[in-house]
Symmetry: C2
Subunit: 140 residues, 2 copies
């Protein structure tokens, strides 16, 4: 039996926050964003709804950056850049792996590919400028 989904004001607000930002927010970020207008919101509810949205394909995980999972309301294929210094996650709308690759993985290896993530790591312009010493390895 399918679960009946009910309306919830907080769920709506949480999704609106995710859709209204390009920061690829963490659960904590969403929580703090909503706290002023929803003083009784609980962090657990944010987590529960994030799971809900992922199961429903409304939100995708961008991966874990510095210990926190980051989310994205844009579920159409696109790539990301993650700054090793400040942890910022940015969209790269134009950058996309060849469509052939996904098919190649399916046929060559026999995998049922659902989706594909292309992520670049490095330094964003601000961090490159401010922090020349930060040359070495990812914090990711």
């Amino acid at each position: 039996m399918e679960r009946t989904v009910r309306y919830s004001k907080k769920r709506e607000a949480i999704l609106a926050v995710i859709r209204g930002t390009s920061t690829h927010p963490s659960a904590e970020w969403i929580y703090h964003q909503l706290r002023p207008t929803h003083p009784d919101l609980s962090l657990g509810t944010v987590y529960r709804n994030l799971t809900f949205f992922q199961e429903n394909g409304q939100v995708q995980s961008v991966g874990v950056v510095r210990g926190q999972e980051r989310f994205d309301a844009i579920v159409t294929p696109h790539s990301h850049f993650i700054c090793n210094c400040c942890g910022t996650v940015l969209d790269l709308p134009d950058i996309r792996p060849e469509a052939d690759l996904e098919r190649a993985v399916s046929t060559q290896y026999g995998f049922a590919v659902k989706r594909c993530e292309l992520t670049f790591y490095g330094l964003c312009p601000e961090c490159s400028y401010q922090n020349q010493n930060f040359k070495e390895e990812p914090l990711s």
Copy 2:
């Protein structure tokens, strides 16, 4: 002043385990692997050495899969497939994003790109076969 690195038997053993497997192991996996031969090994030491190897470019993180960070001793560019069902991480030696893309990200966006990760998600052959129902659900 640079830190002086000293030899350590356990460090050597840890690296050998990572290099000797294609499972893209987690800290816990490495720990259990070594426990029989090194009964006094501590999990903290595994973590400390994983950080060390990453800082030295001997090991790279493949990302966090089901809450555990996974590592890879192959640091040359290659892609991965991650099974949503069993969590297996597999190498895709032949699959590689176009070299142009990395350059494009640098020039178009002004990022200092250090590296790039291409990861495919889906079901591995075993899981596709065993668990047909699994494809119905838009899973995490």
